[in-house]
Symmetry: C2
């Protein structure tokens, strides 16, 4: 019974049961209440659900939460965010990553796909808190040749200090900061090393207009022409696309990271969910950074995604609660090859305990509806990642 | 020092101070730490802010939370909500009101404007928990003549059992359930008795189309023609209006109750905030009922209001955090004649303590930005209404 956990009296799919975890995976969803285990997590009055997998964020930007709001994207970036970032030290990145990771665990995430500088600081924090991350090694044209070679070296010689919890991604920032040569090099490197490629794509109307001017086509078509798009690509935002681009994204198997709060707050535009979903795209959910959201709360992001999809399509049947939930949980896990996102025997033991005594969870005509539309982080009692308890009865 | 409260070490507008409350009002915002008071509320590490005034809800509908989602309004109402409501007993209304009031206090509201049946049950619960309410006495054509007279009698002979915490409003449900005669009678009654009039208005496109068909004009013009609109009117939703209607609403001094979550979830449409704000309308915030939101959380409602206004106007400067905050706090209090909504000497002592140690409140470049965009109810430590503590350190 090495490395085992018994989650006792949890409510799962309409029944109260005991759940045995061994070696970081769900072993038995109908265990005896006195099954032997190294640890016991009491779950009286709690539902057990899969946690969140946040597919697009910039963790250390938590330090810029509330630093600049209510202004256009270019002013926000050029007059506030970039000057602030230029002053950030490694110690700042460490502090920002710590704040972000604490916030993410508190709000129910056990994984995030990051894109920022100074990856060592963030990885140290991920290791300290025991969640998972896919850390982007960021590429922009502005880097010197030696900086670029150093980054490629890190990717080639990466050895995960956390024993499987942290992976790296190749992260060309966007088509407007990374030229053709480097985009192609990034895609080749990702394929050669079997890594994901993480990029901002079609976030703003200006990005599309500039792409048309500079490359004679739209961002999705441009990346497809370069051979960049494939099932290893995680494209964040994808707000401004037409039906043909939706078909391209679906056919190439690209994973989309929909970030509704960021797109709404910056007025970037409205993610055409109904069209992209009907085209068969794999859609996941991301919070983007704390500076443009202004939190990392995936439960809130589910509600924003669902309500925005409904009002923008004029159809309240668009994105029912179960679809928003799938985007925030198993779709994200699948996209990053994490064998989790559902509570099932053999799967990695990732879970949240949701306190059903919270007013927001009552009455319970429909658990998923309550969780997606009514709850908030105050209902999250405990967080488990790969059988380890990251938060127990509200204590990190 | 009868009936006094000392809020000790609270953070207010950039300084830490002690706040003395006497007779339900703020007396001194710079009191001595050892000022004599009947009770002390410790606020170390907490900011003090005005609480929320929810200007449109149906409290007892908390029992229908999650009962029917992700479907068109008519199907939702006719196949699910109304049949459920037909089966509800007074005991159900009591239970639903209790759940709603607990949820509202927990999420920081000290006032709600309600519209439902069986007002006695809801008033009892309001009295038990100590918050404020404006309880709508609902009128629809479907009532019998004696039911209508009974309701008018209640309005005429109302004597508040809570000593000033509960008022009644005259609440004709909507223009499609209440005919001209009764609308006019309601308006006359409200003016005669000095009460507010609470009505759903221009919520859906269908309401506008039916009004055009039946009355040859749009809902706002129709009500104005009947002489209903005035500074005593609280109009909920107001989604489908043109610029001329915005000018009418502003000129008549009507209070609008914007309910973004409900409008988005039911795909009713997008409240034209920028236009209505520029026209000079008084805009407040409401959650609508738990069955169409699906919660009563005004903090979440502020974020939805601000982000929806930005993305729908294409302008990120629309509805900055301070405007969303004003709508949810002092604008709502003012609309109902409650002498509160700001922390200032002489004002009714309504307040929340926000725990600044929450990750979501850190760092604090801009307190209001964190509160509107980043926080959630887990950051609300305590709730005070008219000097009485409704929730103390998370305990109701």
């Amino acid at each position: 019974m090495m490395d085992s956990l018994l989650i006792r009296n949890a409510w799962l799919d309409g029944r109260t049961t005991n759940i045995l975890v061994e070696g970081g995976r769900f072993k038995d969803l109908s265990a005896a209440p006195d099954a032997l285990a190294d640890r016991v997590l009491e779950a009286d009055g709690m539902a057990i659900v899969p946690p969140f997998y946040n597919t697009h964020t910039h963790a250390a930007m938590s330090l810029l939460r509330g630093y600049a709001d209510d202004m256009p994207l270019q002013k926000w970036l050029e007059d506030f965010i970039w000057p602030f970032e230029n002053r950030m030290t490694s110690a700042d990145i460490c502090e920002g990553s710590r704040l972000a990771v604490r916030e993410m665990i508190r709000t129910g995430s056990v994984f995030f796909s990051d894109m920022y500088f100074d990856i060592d600081q963030t990885i140290d924090i991920v290791r300290e808190y025991g969640l998972r991350a896919a850390i982007g090694v960021t590429f922009v044209d502005a880097h010197s040749k030696s900086q670029r070679e150093e980054k490629l070296d890190i990717l080639r010689h990466w050895s995960d200090p956390t024993g499987g919890m942290v992976s790296l991604t190749v992260a060309p920032h966007a088509i407007y900061t990374v030229g053709e040569d480097l985009l192609v090099r990034c895609a080749e490197t990702a394929r050669e090393l079997g890594l994901k490629l993480h990029i901002h794509l079609s976030e703003t109307r200006r990005e599309v207009e500039d792409c048309l001017r500079d490359h004679g086509t739209t961002p999705v078509r441009y990346l497809d022409r370069l051979g960049v798009l494939g099932p290893d690509v995680i494209a964040a935002h994808v707000v401004h696309v037409d039906e043909e681009e939706a078909a391209i994204l679906a056919e190439r198997g690209v994973t989309l990271s929909h970030c509704p709060c960021s797109n709404m707050k910056l007025s970037s535009g409205i993610f055409p969910y109904k069209m992209l979903h009907q085209a068969g795209c794999r859609i996941t959910l991301g919070t983007d950074g704390d500076s443009s959201n202004n939190n990392l709360d995936m439960r809130e992001e589910m509600k924003f995604a669902a309500l925005l999809a409904k009002v923008s399509s004029g159809d309240p049947e668009t994105m029912p609660a179960a679809e928003a939930f799938a985007m925030a949980t198993r779709n994200g896990a699948e996209a990053f090859g994490i064998d989790a996102g559902v509570i099932a025997p053999g799967k990695l033991a990732d879970a949240l305990l949701i306190d059903m005594r919270c007013e927001k969870m009552q009455p319970c005509h429909n658990f998923l509806s309550n969780w997606v539309y009514a709850a908030d982080s105050s209902c999250i009692d405990s967080v488990v990642c790969q059988g380890r308890i990251l938060m127990e009865h509200h204590e990190l």
